[in-house]
Amino acid sequence: MQGKAAVVGIGETTYYKRGESPKTEFQLASEAIGKAVEDAGLELKDIDGVTSYMESRNDPGRLSAALGMKNVAFAAQPWGGGGNGVAASVALADAAISAGYAKNVVVFRALAQGQFGRFGQSKPRTHAYGNSAYSAVYGFLSPAHVCAMQTTRFMHEYGVTQDSLAEIALAASAHAQLNPRALRYGKPLSRQQYHDSRWIAKPFHLYDCCPENDGATAIVVTTRERARDLKQKPVPILAAAQGLGKRDGALIFNEPAFPTSFNREVGQQIWERAGIQPKDVQVAQFYENFTGPVLMAITEMGFCKPEEINEFVANGNIQGPGGKLPINTSGGNLAECYIHGFELINEAVRQVRGQSTCQVPDVEHSLVVSGPGFSPGSAVLFSSD
């Protein structure tokens, strides 16, 4: 909080297409954590806190037993389903470090969707129970459908064009061409290819949808004080926020603010806590589940008005390193690798360290916005000092 804690280590495995990892998910998680700890100049036995999100298979008990952690004093996950918890999991580590509940916290996410089930898949059943009865009965089934419904209305209300959705996919692709870790490295996407790609759920083409991948990424968070004795330039956590506005949790699009990415309160709170404005941010990572909600998140975080989004993302404005606000500079979920969005945290840290493959000059503030379109939203802001 207000920069008491800092990221001192980052690590990630090789990234794989879904099902192509030769390692188990637990091996991937262990490898990423080990690399982040080594990057920090710490040892696994120094880790006394573990946070993640939607992580049910690689729990702190199993990890600490296998990795030789001596005492896990803090272990937690945020509520709220999926990718909307990326930044919230870093906020938990920040809170634990700032409060003194732990000294060195690992935050991580691992996915091997080949070993385990796939996201976004619905199995046909004879009956739909509870609130899913109001949607599944009508063939409304997947996160793509949810985000497409939000995006149609957003496009209608503000005159948002299909080309603006394309800009998100094109920026990710352009950045991936600079990043040898990226799964889309060497496979550039053209605007024509985007428009020619098949529809998944209109208004989403294939390239509006993030892929499914295998891998793991991790960071280590400690106090800024301890960070001085470690290997890397510390990257302070300037502010983080989670947000659930009035009746945002109302089900099946009955939230009054529909269509929302659930970032209105997140934006307000994070700028207030950090004491800066969106214009003070040099680079941002926006979790792309689908392109449309990213456009919504950009506006709700306060970077521009919804009426201005077409211009905001056009003309290379969101492409790095020279654009006005480069986003998803590693290629992001769409083109680097989908590790449930946690690879965006590593990239935001790299931008502050000066180690990105698409390095934006003079980064003072580096933002990550978690998965849009699902509540509660969250974001985390890193600073250079």
Partner: protein, 144 residues
């Protein structure tokens, strides 16, 4: 009328909260007996006064397409012969703040647009397993 989704597609599992919605043959919202607030989907308490005296309220069955999607990629694969199909989000004329999902039964999926006026129709289905007659709310576009 025949079903918009394929035969054998998931049926609603009827419970105390959704029984009227899926069996009454009317468009139903949940109303608070104490403060008259309406809400959907049904909850355990009223979101305004937090009271728990809640009842079903019938609506006119008229509405407007507030948003929509066209599903082109079948998930699961058993829907491969059904795509493209549309799912619409209907804002009710009686209670515009209430939005309900459904399918547009009398129009090509790709011809649906925001702002189209719709009217409720009901698919009569039998849930043999549960021994229930269902009336699944659906929508006809009445003005494009």
């Amino acid at each position: 009328m025949s079903r918009y989704m394929p035969d054998g597609w998931a049926l609603p599992a009827i419970d105390n909260k959704n029984r009227d919605f899926f069996t009454s043959g009317k468009i139903v919202v949940q109303a608070c007996k104490d403060c008259d607030t309406v809400q959907h989907p049904p909850e355990d308490i009223c979101h305004v006064c937090q009271g728990s005296a809640l009842e079903s309220r019938f609506c006119s069955g008229e509405g407007t397409v507030y948003s929509h999607i066209v599903v082109e990629h079948p998930i699961p694969g058993s829907l491969k012969d059904r795509v493209p199909y549309a799912v619409i989000l209907v804002s009710l004329t009686d209670h515009p703040q209430i939005r309900i999902l459904g399918n547009p039964v009398n129009i090509e999926a790709r011809d649906v647009a925001v702002g189209q006026k719709v009217r409720a129709v009901f698919e009569s289905l039998e849930d043999k397993e549960a021994g229930l007659e269902l009336k699944i709310p659906q929508w006809e576009v009445i003005q494009t």
